[in-house]
């Protein structure tokens, strides 16, 4: 279905939205969450998506995460038209190219950190030994070696989010989507998580797209896209803005 070939063409952006609209409901009750959004993300970027609630940033996140499809417009992922894919094709795309980090961590309860991290590999049909090794490596990367056999209830919020990040990166995804990853954490833990994401972006070349409403967190990104009223309000790169 999906060809990796697209990646080799330097000119092609990793993902690209073209005049994307999204309407919920119909008739008089219809609500247009996105009113024609276009922007592209290149491989290796760390993009923060900001905006007040109702600005459409969650909707754009769902579409970029292939969880939802646009009402109109095009969404190209590595050159592939996502808006034409069915539910299972999008699931496979998520499985092979995307990693998700949620505000509420969404770890499986009463399940060890190692088993949680293994989960995406399980869906890839990986053998036990390889699965364990990769999950351990991912936990190592987020600094949780020694905590493999702890369940979420035995971990702090910051540690839980680290496990969630390990689960998101264990498949070596092309794009990491983080939805308010620090929303449930205090400032200190938030900074740790941001440092982790920044490190993954810089040292491991993982493209990160993060939705946040905290300017403090967005500062870690190399680029900030501002949404207002279902439209891109501003799109600034960190180096363009004098500190």
């Amino acid at each position: 279905m999906l060809k990796r070939a697209g990646m080799t063409e330097a000119a092609t952006a990793l993902i690209e939205l073209r005049e994307v609209t999204k309407t919920y409901g119909s008739g008089v009750a219809a609500f247009q969450a996105l009113k024609g959004v276009s922007f592209a993300i290149q491989a290796g970027e760390f993009v923060a998506v900001m905006g007040p609630s109702g600005s459409g940033k969650s909707t754009v996140m769902n579409i970029l995460g292939c969880l939802d499809v646009p009402t109109a417009g095009e969404y190209l992922f590595l050159g592939e038209h996502v808006e034409t894919l069915n539910r299972d094709q999008r699931a496979l795309l998520r499985r092979h190219y995307l990693g998700f980090v949620f505000q509420g961590f969404n770890l499986l309860a009463r399940t060890t950190a190692l088993e949680n991290v293994e989960l995406p590999l399980l869906y890839r049909g990986m053998a036990v030994a390889e699965r364990h090794a990769k999950a351990r490596a991912a936990l190592d990367l987020v600094g949780l070696i020694g905590w493999e056999h702890h369940t979420p209830a035995e971990l702090s919020g910051g540690q839980q989010q680290r496990v969630a990040i390990a689960r998101a990166i264990v498949t070596n995804p092309t794009l990491l989507l983080a939805d308010e990853p620090t929303g449930n954490l205090d400032t200190e833990r938030s900074e740790e998580i941001m440092a982790l994401l920044t490190g993954l972006n810089r040292e491991h070349g993982i493209t990160v797209l993060m939705v946040t409403h905290e300017a403090q967190m967005a500062r870690h990104a190399s680029r900030t896209v501002h949404f207002v009223d279902g439209l891109v309000h501003s799109d600034t790169r960190a180096d363009e803005v004098p500190a």
Partner: protein
């Protein structure tokens, strides 16, 4: 691969909630245990009855005066048989191995200070073959003793125990109806008959001696029952027919008169009795099967609750890239694993319960592996049947909604 993953996930899920899983499958456990136990006990009862009936002697045809087949109907008077009917049947009916005349009368039997009331039976040595009796000690009385009408007797185990307890009665003299009779043999125990009679409560002596000294004056020549043993290669219903025809002729019955005697064979009795218990077994099994169904509904209920409770988890799985079918399979396998687990527990419980109950009720333990296998398969398919709706609900969840679920 996909299946093994689903199985692994399902087992992890059950392990996460072991307590709830156990409670969920309780219905299945009880259902499976009930079905297997009922059928096992029913089979035990059937087998015991069959064994008891065949202990009367296999291929046995019994001829009695009067028509006693219909309950509630007075027997009416009918002439008894005579001793020469025995020879007539042996000569006139094909396929007969042996014929024993049986005449019986209740008497008080005493030895030293012990006494007991028991049926005293006059018969011929053919009785041993016809009734399939084995001797515990001593011998049966001989033809010569029968012809001479000697006062010798053979005791059943019950009589022997009441009169002699543990000592050997051989050579001792017991007394009844004013005669003194030498014990020459003791029969091996047969236990209860299919009708609940104690077959070992018996004293046998030569018919001649019985007629001369035990029977009342009026019934001196009478023989109450004829017991006919049929050769294995001959159909008993044919013998029944021939005996009926012969007896009608010997009793000079006109074609328009109905039989004043009845002929039945033990095979027929055994079949009637065991088909009755089989029907009862099936009935009990069916009732138990309903509880299995109720157990299935219990599983569906818990699975539905579980899907709602785990909505966020399902959302996470879908976001991670689980396909609709994989989520469906996971929940389906979970339901099947639960119900099979319940089935296994049920089988275990059934084994214990059947063994215990069979021992308590004095029934043989007849474990039907087919029923065990069937109960297990049914419990597993109940998982598929009642797991499907919750599994489909889980698989069709919208990942965005599911992730937002509180």
């Amino acid at each position: 691969m996909m299946f093994w993953n689903a199985l692994l996930l399902a087992i992890r899920e059950i392990r996460r909630n072991l307590m709830r899983a156990s409670l969920t499958v309780l219905g299945i456990v009880i259902g499976v245990a009930a079905v297997i136990t009922m059928v096992t006990l029913g089979n035990g009862a059937t087998e015991m009855i069959t064994a008891q009936v065949s202990s009367l002697g296999s291929n046995l045809v019994i001829v009695r005066p009067g028509q006693r087949m219909t309950p509630g109907q007075p027997a009416g008077w009918a002439p008894a048989f005579k001793e020469d009917d025995v020879g007539a049947i042996l000569e006139g009916v094909n396929g007969v191995r042996a014929v024993a005349p049986v005449a019986s009368r209740g008497s008080t039997v005493s030895y030293m200070t012990e006494s007991v009331f028991t049926p005293v039976t006059g018969t011929s040595p053919a009785y041993q073959e016809v009734g399939n009796w084995k001797l515990a000690e001593g011998r049966f009385f001989y033809d010569s003793e029968q012809r001479a009408g000697r006062a010798v007797c053979v005791l059943g185990q019950t009589v022997k125990k009441s009169l002699f307890s543990n000592t050997s009665p051989l050579g001792e003299k017991i007394r009844f109806r004013g005669i003194s009779c030498e014990v020459v043999g003791v029969l091996l125990s047969k236990g209860q008959s299919a009708m609940g009679q104690d077959q070992d409560d018996i004293i046998l002596l030569p018919l001649k001696a019985y007629q001369r000294r035990v029977a009342g004056r009026r019934s001196r020549q009478d023989v109450g029952t004829l017991m006919i043993s049929v050769r294995d290669d001959v159909r008993t219903d044919k013998v029944v027919k021939d005996v009926t025809a012969l007896m009608r002729e010997r009793r000079s019955l006109a074609p328009n008169e109905s039989d004043n005697f009845s002929v039945f064979d033990t095979k027929q009795i055994a079949e009637t009795l065991s088909s009755t218990t089989r029907i009862l077994t099936a009935l009990l099994g069916a009732v138990a099967a309903v509880s299995l169904l109720v157990g299935g509904i219990g599983i569906m209920n818990i699975m539905l609750v579980s899907v709602t409770e785990r909505t966020r988890e399902i959302g996470t799985r879908l976001a991670i890239g689980a396909l609709e079918n994989e989520v469906l399979l996971q929940f389906l396998v979970e339901a099947v694993a639960l119900s099979s687990f319940g089935g296994l527990l049920g089988i275990l419980l059934a084994l214990l319960a059947s063994a215990g109950l069979a021992a308590a009720m004095g029934l043989p333990l007849v474990l039907d592996l087919q029923i065990v296998l069937l109960a297990f398969c049914v419990s597993a398919s109940i998982g598929v049947l009642f797991g499907f709706v919750p599994a489909r609900r889980a698989a069709r969840l919208d990942p965005i909604e599911a992730l937002r679920h509180e």
